[in-house]
């Protein structure tokens, strides 16, 4: 205490005073910090809590399993198959190049995929898996699994992808799915969040497209906790989505396969319909294509091959193809006249081979004429003049009305893309669509299914079924949705006198069972399965008077696209109709030669439910039929194994 007293006291006083001031300021500042803390943590806590939650929680979509499609017997037509891919996680791999080099020794890696993967890896965080190989086979996956210790960071991942186990058989009905494109997305208003997933598979055509909303299902969500760089730390909760509806079709896989194979490489279509219920048992369209090509996105060269093929494999000709029905339309003309009472079945018409109508000569296909023909013989031998004459008596309006009653010119609502309406022309239709008046020649042409008349194979099959049953059956393609049976296609009576219908059916029976019938060569021999039918050959070109004078050029001598379409409609068995069939072979030539045998074979297959015995066929054809049966049998897949998940 030997400090100079006054100085020391003075100094202590200053220090104390100023220390107090600064200490006070410090405490004041601390109080301010406390106040600020209180404001943030108590008053604004909820708001900040929300921001923290938003930070850490990420909502992810769980894609639902797409609804599967089965045939009427439960065989899968479109299913979800596991698709394997290999991913690499950079941070686990360590030396990426070495791991990739080892991997390529085991699995064939696509250079393009690999380069993309390496670029992607550089851009993304090290913990994110990057796909190095897509659509890897199970064998490759097994090899990778066995060598897992040498392949750090490589993980096989399994996803679901659409698969069509029967390949081309159902392609034209079921259609296919493909990765969603920007164009698809732009067409949809307020698209489902699912569709934002890159390469999400959506239906592009056919049932897959038409019933997309039902097949897709509802996405589930899971909430995951992520850290600042987006790494998923854990799953907080998940809400399962709803898988898409599973659809059962009325189609029969055996019959469909048979019809498709029987049509072979012709540009043709065949439809088999159940006469009572309207169930469509087969809807073949040839040539077909493998819908599996489209699932992951089709290559340009494959796609070009399909679009440039003149046989149009991508078209569903069974519903989309419209053809002049030719002579298969004659039942319509006959029924219209009979129903109107302008002719009786026994009334005869003289056929000299042609008919003059308003200074124009309309020819019968048989230049020498049929002589006296009545309903039965005219249908049996497909006399044209009889129908010209009858049509002139009844008029186009009644013919058109009858066509509509039988299902022509009507768009059936079945879940396929581009179902065509066809046309049962009327005077009013012509004037409003072409601006020209209906002339009597148009009626003459229409009477034999030429001119303005157009029908799809589906409509022709429906027509045949309606004639067979006298009821307005409608086609049904969807048997059940998620096990819920869909309304049957059985219909009300047509309102046509049964006695008249019986006359027409009888005449159709003669077509394939009378020696003089146009389809006698394609008859069914088995007594209880005998069929009634009608051939049709429709021209796609005009035959000039000059050509007719020197002789009509034979189909074989014409280029393919100018040849006649060959058609055949039938129902069987005649006594108790079960199935009606329509076959159209584009530019196939004559209906009796090109279409009737195919229709007969398909009908027999439907009636027997398997390959029919050779005794069902006319004796002289059996060797040929045997050879055909053997060939198709060899090509047929083993239905016992298709549709099982392929591993």
């Amino acid at each position: 205490m030997k400090r100079p007293g006054k100085d020391s006291a003075e100094s202590a006083r200053i220090i104390s005073r100023r220390g107090l001031i600064v200490g006070g300021m410090q405490l004041g500042f601390a109080a301010m910090l406390a106040a600020r803390m209180r404001y943030m943590q108590v008053e604004q806590a909820d708001q900040f809590r929300l921001l923290a939650e938003e930070n850490r929680i990420n909502v992810r979509l769980i894609p639902p399993a797409r609804g599967e499609i089965f045939d009427r017997h439960g065989l899968p037509i479109a299913q979800n198959e596991p698709s394997y891919r290999l991913t690499i996680v950079r941070e686990d791999a360590g030396d990426v190049d070495t791991v990739i080099a080892r991997l390529s020794a085991l699995v064939e890696l696509d250079d393009e995929d690999l380069n993309r993967a390496l670029t992607e890896m550089k851009r993304s965080p090290p913990f994110l898996p990057v796909t190095v190989a897509d659509r890897v086979s199970w064998a490759d996956i097994s090899r990778v699994a066995v060598n897992a210790p040498a392949l750090p960071g490589i993980t096989p991942e399994v996803g679901l992808s659409r698969g069509y186990p029967l390949g081309p058989d159902f392609a034209n009905v079921v259609g296919y799915v493909g990765p969603i494109s920007d164009y698809d997305l732009s067409k949809i208003e307020d698209p489902d969040q699912l569709l934002r997933i890159p390469r999400f598979q959506i239906g592009k055509v056919g049932i897959e497209a038409r019933l997309e909303d039902q097949l897709r299902g509802k996405a589930g969500t899971k909430r995951v906790e992520v850290n600042a760089v987006g790494r998923v730390m854990r799953e907080l909760d998940r809400q399962e989505g709803q898988p898409g509806a599973s659809l059962q079709l009325t189609l029969d896989h055996r019959l469909q396969n048979y019809a498709q194979a029987r049509l072979g490489n012709e540009s043709a279509a065949a439809v088999v319909i159940d006469c009572e219920t309207g169930d469509l048992l087969a809807m073949a369209s040839a040539p077909s294509f493998d819908p599996n090509l489209f699932v992951q996105g089709i290559s340009v060269s494959d796609y070009r091959a399909l679009t440039e093929n003149k046989y149009r494999p991508l078209a569903s000709k069974s519903v989309q193809g419209l053809y002049p029905p030719g002579s298969t339309f004659k039942m319509v003309t006959a029924l219209a006249a009979l129903d109107a009472g302008v002719i009786s079945p026994e009334e005869t018409v003289w056929c000299p081979g042609h008919l003059e109508v308003s200074n124009r000569r309309f020819h019968c296909w048989k230049r020498t004429g049929h002589g006296h023909v009545d309903l039965k013989s005219s249908l049996r031998e497909s006399c044209d003049v009889y129908y010209y004459d009858v049509a002139l008596k009844v008029g186009i309006e009644k013919i058109s009305a009858m066509a509509e009653r039988l299902g022509l010119g009507h768009r059936f609502d079945i879940p396929m893309s581009a179902v065509a309406t066809g046309r049962a022309p009327t005077k009013e239709w012509k004037s409003s669509n072409t601006g020209q008046e209906w002339v009597v020649g148009d009626t003459v042409n229409a009477s034999i299914g030429q001119g303005y008349v157009l029908a799809s194979p589906l409509q022709l099959a429906v027509m045949s079924a309606r004639i067979a049953t006298g009821r307005a059956v409608s086609p049904r393609l969807l048997k059940s949705v998620d096990g819920v049976e869909q309304p049957s296609g059985a219909g009300e009576p047509l309102g046509v006198d049964e006695a008249l219908l019986r006359q027409v059916r009888r005449a159709m029976f003669e077509v394939s069972n009378n020696r003089r019938g146009t389809a006698y060569g394609s008859r069914i021999v088995t007594e209880e399965f005998r069929m009634a039918g009608k051939t049709g050959t429709s021209q796609v070109r005009n035959i000039t008077a000059a050509e007719r004078a020197r002789g009509v050029t034979k189909n074989e001598d014409l280029p393919w696209e100018r040849r006649d379409h060959a058609l055949f409609v039938n129902f069987a068995p005649f006594d108790n109709p079960r199935y009606a069939v329509a076959v159209v072979v584009e530019h196939g030539g004559g209906g009796s030669a090109a279409a009737a045998p195919i229709a007969r074979d398909i009908t027999l297959q439907a009636l027997y439910g398997e390959d029919p015995p050779l005794t069902a066929y006319p004796e002289k054809d059996r060797d040929r039929i045997k050879a055909l049966q053997d060939r198709l049998k060899r090509e047929r897949p083993d239905f016992g194994t298709v549709g099982k998940v392929r591993t």
Binding site: M1, S11, A12, L33, R36
Partner: protein
């Protein structure tokens, strides 16, 4: 020149000094450090590694250093103040040329077992030197312009070197602590008024210089100021730290989200969660109660120091104690203001809580000086 005379009768000596240490202060420091251990354990995901255990070891070492420093007579520290100051300056110059670059600044010397930040030493030695200077300077000369200019020079020298590193946070601390020392010593009010006026002018100049060839501070410092003024302007860029820090703090609420339950820190949304932003983790996990408790401990440390300074009749001792309290205050005030979004992000750790070796050791050594002043106070 004055000297101290200690009465043998009233001043403890030898091992007995231990009993006369300011134990309540030591207890407070330990409590604060415990907050740190807890939080470091938490941000490591419930592990003593890599932060909590080294920090505990260093704290134990720091306490030993504090006690040793505390038992050395205060006159020894006063006598070496000038040498210590020059030594710190020399080290600052050394790091200018040979220092290890980290976080965009030359800051430390790697000693192998620890990283020495000379700027930490500079803060304490400046306070020591100024305390010694005013102890030596007669009271009536304190406000004389020449005797004011000298300490200003002594303050600006290390400040300039630190600013050069560049370490804006420490520069502000040095300047403020130095200024406070002059204020405690009784320098006339007028000088401070003038400096504040000049400061305002300087800030204006700094902003005016932006984008010109004579730009006074670095672009990243400008950006920090920008984001401080409007953190929402760039929430994922440079405003990210402040935004995330505020979210963590605010989401803690009244009682916090629970120990080790803070999503912001656990999921790495918080930057520098074990160092400069450790307070946000505390506030997130223990809420207002936790944050306020720590603040109270800090305030108590200040109060204890100020009270000790008032008790002390020795001028050097009381000035030193007040100066160290001021430095300590500046640490936590700047750090907390920063994480609460009240100040720009400048690299200032939370004292005794943030992970960091040299800062804790130097700080505890400084509290050793406070202990020494307390033990050896004139009685």
């Amino acid at each position: 020149m004055s000297y101290l005379e200690y009465s043998v009768k009233t001043t403890p000596s030898g091992i007995r000094k231990l009993l006369f240490l300011h134990w309540p202060l030591a207890l407070l420091l330990t409590s604060v450090a415990c907050f740190g251990f807890l939080m470091l354990y938490s941000v490591a995901g419930g592990s003593f590694q890599p932060w909590a255990e080294p920090q505990m070891k260093r704290f134990a070492l720091g306490m030993v250093v504090m006690i040793i420093v505390g038992m050395v007579p205060i006159y020894f520290w006063r006598n070496i103040a000038g040498v210590a100051y020059l030594g710190a300056l020399a080290l600052l110059l050394f790091v200018e040329f040979f220092g290890t670059v980290g976080m965009g600044a030359q800051r430390w010397i790697d000693l192998g077992f620890m990283r020495l930040q000379p700027s930490e030493l500079a803060k304490i030695t400046l306070v020591m030197l100024l305390a010694a200077y005013y102890d030596w300077l007669p009271v009536k000369k304190v406000s004389h312009p020449i005797w004011v200019a000298l300490p200003v020079f002594l303050i600006l020298l290390p400040t300039a070197l630190v600013l050069k590193q560049p370490d804006l946070g420490t520069a502000i601390l040095l300047l403020t602590a130095g200024g406070a020392m002059m204020f405690f010593a009784g320098v006339h009010w007028g000088y401070f008024a003038a400096v504040i006026a000049m400061g305002v002018g300087l800030v204006t100049a700094v902003f005016q210089s932006r984008g010109t060839t004579w730009q006074l501070i670095k672009d990243y410092q400008f950006r920090r100021i920008d984001t401080f003024l409007d953190p929402g302007s760039d929430p994922l860029g440079s405003g990210y730290h402040i935004t995330q820090s505020k979210i963590a703090l605010g989401s803690g609420g009244w009682a916090g989200r629970g120990f080790m339950q803070g999503t912001q820190s656990r999921l790495n949304f918080l930057p520098e969660k074990h160092t400069d932003f450790i307070f946000t983790t505390l506030a997130e996990e223990f809420g207002f109660l936790g944050g306020f408790s720590l603040l109270m401990l800090y305030a108590l440390i200040i109060i204890f120091c100020v009270a000790a300074a008032f008790q002390n009749k020795d001028r050097f001792s009381s000035l030193l104690t007040l100066g160290i309290a001021m430095t300590f205050f500046l640490f936590f005030a700047v750090n907390m203001s920063m994480v609460m979004g009240l100040a720009p992000v400048v690299g200032v750790p939370l004292p005794l809580v943030s992970y960091g070796g040299s800062a804790m050791l130097v700080l505890l050594a400084a509290f050793g000086l406070v202990q020494s002043a307390h033990v050896h106070r004139p009685r």
